[in-house]
Amino acid sequence: MIKHCYIHIPFCKTICSYCDFCKQFYDSQKVKEYLKNLREEIERDYQGEEMDTIYIGGGTPTCLSLEELKELMDILSLIHKSHNTEITIEGNVETISKEKLVLFKQYGINRISLGIESINENHLRFLERNHTKEQIQKTIQMIRKEGFHNLNLDLIYAIPGETIEEVQEDLDFLLSLQPEHISTYSLMIEDHTKLKIQGVKPIAEETDEEMYSLITSYLKEKGYIHYEISNFSKKGYESKHNIGYWKNEEYYGFGCGASSYKDSIRKTNTRSLTNYPKGNLLEREEVTESDKIEYEILLNLRLLEGISLSDFEEKYQMPLKDLYNYQQLVEQGLLIEEENHLRVPEEKIYVSNEIIVKLLQSKKEI
């Protein structure tokens, strides 16, 4: 049963140098048109299931005007939810206001995710982000005051020129804000981003890994659980929506550039605002049974807890060990099998691609 829903708002007031998401500059006329099309898509494709999680991502959903957000909230009410559905909205410090927060609260939004990325002026300039420590502190006070108790903050590290000390400073500031959830991302220089076009090169993998080690050990020391490669939370505040992805569960994806997984089909809507109303797709993949198993493995292994062997067997009617000959990887210490789970050891999670490939390669001939 499908339990998750993603809604994409592809508008921003400024464009960040590293961003490769589907986004464009805010334009009220376009937003109006877009919301109309979004409503149509949901009315057409949504089949009335009750959602455990809804995630409004972007772009910058909070950059919409109060009026536009009211329309968005109205669209949101098309989707059935229960009293404990996790509903997240993404945003940035500059565009959040008291009025908007009141609106969110009214429509049941209970989780807010803010892209802080860094507090170092040089790095913010490089990332083309535009906020100050004071602004961040003020916005978060406001969020708390309006009664939001589940807050995520994003951090970017491994920025060219960044030092370990600067990562430490960012972390200390982040911790002073006492968020329930923290996501930390090593800067990826993606195709078609400003950074790529400028020819920016990533930092040395040694430094990157050193920063990652610092982040994981420091956040754990401060009482956060490291539950996914890039995600940390206080107990009970893991992102239910994202865990849905990593458990290979189905999800709706509404909006321009949004991806969905439903009825064994993974598809992504067009990234073009003009073609979006026509229902054009960027990508469509029919997922076979063996693909499903591969997805299950590569997604589950992002979680520190790994693959639940009993869940796997129940889902695929076959124990994992009958499909993959992973014993050797366990012997080499690349995987750990205990308490009904198969997982990548935490100290090796930063090279998990290599381990997953080896696991997939160990597929038995049947």
């Binding site: 991302y185 890039s230 990593w246 590569l298």
Partner: protein, 598 residues
């Protein structure tokens, strides 16, 4: 056709001097093909040949030419130009009475021009020197004429052509008829047909290229191979003009193809004489000097289940390539493969490329090795064509390696760098001839193994591509040789072992481990790379452990991309060989060839 009107000739030239284009023009001029049909370079039928601009396999074409009232039959036998194939050149020369020696009007005489000329003279052929490409803006036919005069031709003998524009082709054809002697074999005598090439055809079996020296052969004749004694019934005879055309018989002086339901190429020995079973000739025609591979390497399939496919591929190539030798060998690192012998480096490259391209088998080639001789303390001799066969150092009394006489042709301004190169390569200077004031031939005695290791690349780079070279194996000389092993993660990788001169071992070891460090990707653990002679480590590098291989974010929209990425990574691993716990890319096995400091 009466014998007086037959001319059998071939074209010999340095690579790229326009041999194939000239052949095309002759074909066109004699009406064998018209311009519309003329694919560039008709005679080079293999794709690879056309790409590399070299002729690998022989090809014989029968052309007719009208001169006055008389009709002439011209048999053009194509020859490969590269030194690796000099054996094949000599085979085709044996089927001819004359040769066109083609020299590029801009480049002048080059190393292979001379090497081929001497081969032709050894075969008592009449030579027509041809200065080709006179249409080029940089052409200097007068200068090239002087060069030809310097090596003993007279001005009157020389024909100037442009295969591109067709200029001089008529004059050349006239000259062929005028100066090249016709074949003289007696068609009444018992059959003597020289097999100068063979080709495998999946419908007709082995097709032999033959030149009838004496007698006559007809369809339906029972023939006997004089060397092997095997007998066959002639199923068909044909000529190539240049489309295949069936004929009833071939008589003394003619060149053509014969097929007789011969199932395997091993039943046909190129150089053997065909005669008639019921009316045999008394003795065979002189064969060819047996050819010996000079360069060996191991070929292994990357996917070990492709071993049988590789065997089949080698068998198929062998059908048309008598010079290729192979036998199964086992490597601890690479599993099952074949030790293959080649005429030279180019021959080796071509075979590797054909296996990968035509048979779709990904290969690992171990570093090429020459054939060494080792004299043990008990004075027995051991032949070492594979470093793994090198006896223990304590048991060795003396080691020998093959030497070549190398002639380098170059503009004289590069004498300095060339001598430095040859010195670097353990060469001994013999002498130097000036062709004219600007061009020189330098003769060096060099170990063959040094030519195998990047000699050609360095020659090209130190002379801006102007020099050419040729060599001839002259025999074995004592040399202080040692076996150098490469260890990955503490274990010897047998496929990377090489035999090197002791004085050069340290340098080679250092270069090779450095190169391997660049080539071997980071793994989940640190990989030490060592070069060692016996127990003694002479160089060491380390591939650092992989520290990061992860996607920072993977949400709803990243899932498909992440899978694709991992699939690509998985594909990449297929191209690597697992040696112990280390994944080694294909190119690592050639890194041993690298001699450049990085």
């Amino acid at each position: 056709m009466k014998q007086e009107n037959i001319r059998n000739f071939c074209i010999i030239a340095h690579i790229d001097h326009g041999k194939s284009t000239l052949a095309d023009r002759i074909l066109e001029r004699t009406g064998a093909i018209d311009k519309r049909e003329l694919k560039d370079q008709m005679l080079d039928s293999m794709d690879l040949e056309r790409e590399r601009g070299i002729t690998i396999k022989l090809n014989a074409v029968q052309l007719s030419y009208q001169k006055g009232q008389e009709e002439y039959q011209l048999n053009l036998i194509d020859t490969p130009g590269h030194v690796d194939f000099s054996y094949e050149v000599s085979r085709s020369l044996a089927a001819c009475e004359g040769a066109l020696l083609v020299v590029d009007a801009a480049q002048g005489i080059e190393a292979q021009t001379l090497a081929n000329l001497y081969l032709a003279l050894d075969n008592h052929l009449t030579i027509i020197p041809v200065i080709n490409k006179i249409d080029l803006p940089s052409a200097d036919p007068e200068k090239v004429t002087k060069e030809l005069e310097n090596i003993g031709f007279s001005r009157e003998e020389i024909v100037r052509t442009s295969a591109k524009t067709g200029e001089g082709i008529d004059e050349l054809l006239e000259k062929i008829i005028e100066v090249i002697p016709h074949p003289t074999g007696d068609k009444k005598k018992p059959l003597k047909a020289l097999i100068f090439d063979s080709l495998f055809d999946s419908y007709r079996g082995v097709i032999t290229s033959i030149c009838i020296k004496e007698g006559e052969v007809k369809v339906g004749d029972i023939i006997r191979m004089m060397e092997t004694g095997a007998t066959y019934e002639v199923v068909g005879l044909s000529i190539n003009n240049p489309k295949e055309q069936e004929v009833k018989s071939l008589i003394a002086g003619e060149v053509g193809y014969l097929y007789a339901s011969i199932k395997s190429i091993t039943d046909v020995h190129v150089g053997d004489t065909i005669t008639l079973e019921d009316h045999p000739a008394e003795e065979r025609l002189p064969g060819y000097k047996p050819m010996k591979p000079t360069v060996y390497c191991g070929l292994y399939p990357i996917e070990s289940n492709k071993f049988e496919d590789l065997r089949e591929a080698l068998n198929k190539l062998k059908l048309n390539d008598a010079a290729l030798t192979f036998e199964p060998e086992t490597s601890k690192a690479l599993g099952f493969g074949f030790r293959c012998g080649f005429l030279g480096l180019l021959h080796m490259e071509i075979v590797e490329e054909r296996i990968e391209r035509e048979f779709g088998i990904d290969l690992i080639a171990t570093s090429p090795s020459v054939v060494y001789e080792v004299e043990l303390n008990d004075h027995t001799k051991v032949i070492v064509d594979n470093p793994s066969k090198m006896p223990k150092r304590e048991a060795i009394n003396k080691t020998y390696e093959p030497y070549v006489n190398c002639s380098i042709f170059s503009p004289s301004e590069y004498i300095g760098p060339l001598m430095e190169l040859c010195q670097d390569k353990r060469g001994t200077f013999l002498n130097m001839d000036y062709i004219d004031t600007e061009r020189v031939t330098i003769h060096y005695e060099l170990p063959l193994s040094e030519i195998v290791y990047d000699f050609f690349d360095r020659l090209k780079s130190c002379t801006k591509g102007y020099a050419s070279f040729d060599y001839e194996v002259i025999g074995y000389k004592p040399s202080d040789l040692v076996k150098m092993d490469i260890l990955l993660n503490g274990e010897i990788v047998d496929a990377l072992s090489v035999i090197v001169h002791k004085d050069f071992a340290y340098q080679r070891g250092r270069i090779v481990v450095e190169k391997l460090r660049e080539i071997i990707p980071r793994q989940l653990f640190e990989v030490p790379i060592q070069a060692a002679i016996g127990m003694h480590v002479i160089a060491r590098e380390t591939v650092k452990a992989l520290r990061k291989d992860v996607l920072a974010k993977c949400y709803g929209g990243d899932v498909t991309r992440k899978k694709k990425l991992l699939e690509k990574q998985k594909e990449g691993k297929k191209r690597m060989k697992q040696i112990g716990s280390v994944e080694v890319p294909q190119e690592a096995f050639l890194s041993i060839l690298s001699t450049k400091e990085s």
